[in-house]
Symmetry: C2
Subunit: 284 residues, 2 copies
């Protein structure tokens, strides 16, 4: 069985892994995200030391250029993350390790991981959404990873924002009160003055969060009609938030469709992304 | 060349056609939508008289059941249209005309028509949206018509609604101020007391309309990243509305992505649906 490499590049850390699947991870390493040069060098060193692999998959924070025909394929593009805009990752890894590389968004990679080994096995049309520092979404429609002009950017949808209930302006540098601007981990921390993890059990916090999450999910459901939505990311670790969000989605849909999209947790937990990157490597 | 039949079932009229494409429509008929029995009988009579055809495609108002494995495949399901909920169309047409039938939503059919002969030729991922009496959307992602648990229902996304600017409650019987509830032709007429066509040139009307349309389009762009969005339907006949809506989408996206989805008019005009139904027939 061929051994693949996977990299999940995140805004705060990179996860690197070598193996064939969740039951066969032969080496893993977590690398803090510092400068592009230092971070990429450490990832290359990991694969030099622990390899060889037949191909590498990379699931990256974005926006990214994943168009195979593009001159800047494999680059992170217009990210607001300081120092990282227009950084080449895919081509650099391919050149230095001399292996085929497949490159996509972190959330499309996670979707692929869950499709292969997790909570989306056998599904044709589903989404993977992460609610963490930011909000991102990817998925599979009609059996194929969601790509288009670029790739999905679920976090930047606009949702209703009742300022009488929540006067917070939102934290998105581009859009203020878009979905990510109102409902991401950074938004929660900025609104309430404490990190999500320190707000456990605060009724007002989680009622509002479930409401905002549900408003975005309704749009995803109305556009894609996914069979299932997997809701991952650190914010979703809050006890009761998933079930409360499901309740809000039902309330908002108000019986309009006869069938309800199943909204549930990913099965691979924090491994969805890097395992998905390994699954992605098989397509390189 | 095989000759196909197409039916576009609308809430106010059905369009029936026989032919091979836009340059070869051998017979067409417009039938007013009355009771299911009478309307279906008239469509059957048209094909009896003008046929034979090798297969029929049906693009229907919805929600519909287009799952091939379902016992109620070919049915309109939970529509609020009086007398039409849970009406079998696809199986009835197949049985009475004894030909293969392909069945999908009106907007997926229109998307397919534009893909085959119109403004979406050669595209892999795009949407067709109609802004008429209601708002509906369909399209193709990764080369395949958008299907999932059921099918897209773009019109029922929630969008921001600033009640200081617009105190209108919306007209959706399920959701009040969803996209369709605020921005459809029926919503315009209910809010301003006159039909859209009689409000030409009224600055407040069309500034608000472009704003609402753009808010929904931003969600579609963030979920699907379409290469192009085709905006059809009667409301879009308002001079300047398309270009104003484009401007609002740009303003709302605020330069977040390097690439902008092309938002333009369908090329087949009011024929997208029935021609798309003919294209759909080829898949029956």
């Amino acid at each position: 069985m061929s051994v693949y490499g996977g990299i999940e590049t995140g805004g705060s850390k990179w996860e690197c892994a070598i193996g064939t699947g969740p039951d066969d991870l032969r080496a893993t390493e977590t690398i803090p995200t510092t400068t592009p040069e230092e971070t990429i060098n450490r990832a290359i060193a990991f694969f030099d030391r622990e390899g060889p692999v037949v191909a590498i998959g990379i699931g990256s924070f974005g926006p990214v250029d994943q168009k195979l025909t593009s001159a800047t394929w494999g680059h992170i593009t217009s990210t607001p993350k300081p120092g990282w805009a227009y950084t080449d990752i895919g081509q650099e890894v391919r050149r230095r390790l001399a292996v085929p590389v497949a490159f996509d968004t972190d959330v499309n990679a996670a979707a692929l991981g869950e499709h292969r080994w997790g909570a989306a096995q056998g599904l044709d049309t589903f989404c993977y959404i992460t609610v963490g520092t930011g909000i991102g979404g990817g998925g599979i429609a009609g059996g194929k990873l969601l790509h288009g002009l670029v790739h999905p950017e679920f976090g930047h949808m606009r949702i209703p924002h009742d300022r009488r209930r929540d006067s917070f302006d939102g934290i998105c540098p581009y859009h203020g009160d878009c979905w990510e601007g109102l409902a991401s981990g950074r938004a929660i921390e900025a609104r309430w003055g404490r990190a999500a993890v320190d707000l456990e059990g605060d009724e007002a916090v989680w009622a509002l969060e479930a409401h905002y999450l549900a408003l975005g999910l309704v749009s995803v459901i109305c556009v894609l009609s996914p069979e299932r939505i997997l809701l991952g990311g650190g914010v979703m670790n809050q006890a009761g938030l998933l079930s409360r969000t499901n309740g809000e989605v039902s309330r908002l849909m108000n019986g309009y469709l006869d069938h309800a999209t199943d909204i549930t947790a990913p099965e691979l937990g924090s491994w969805s992304g890097v395992l998905g990157a390994i699954a992605l490597a098989e397509t390189a």
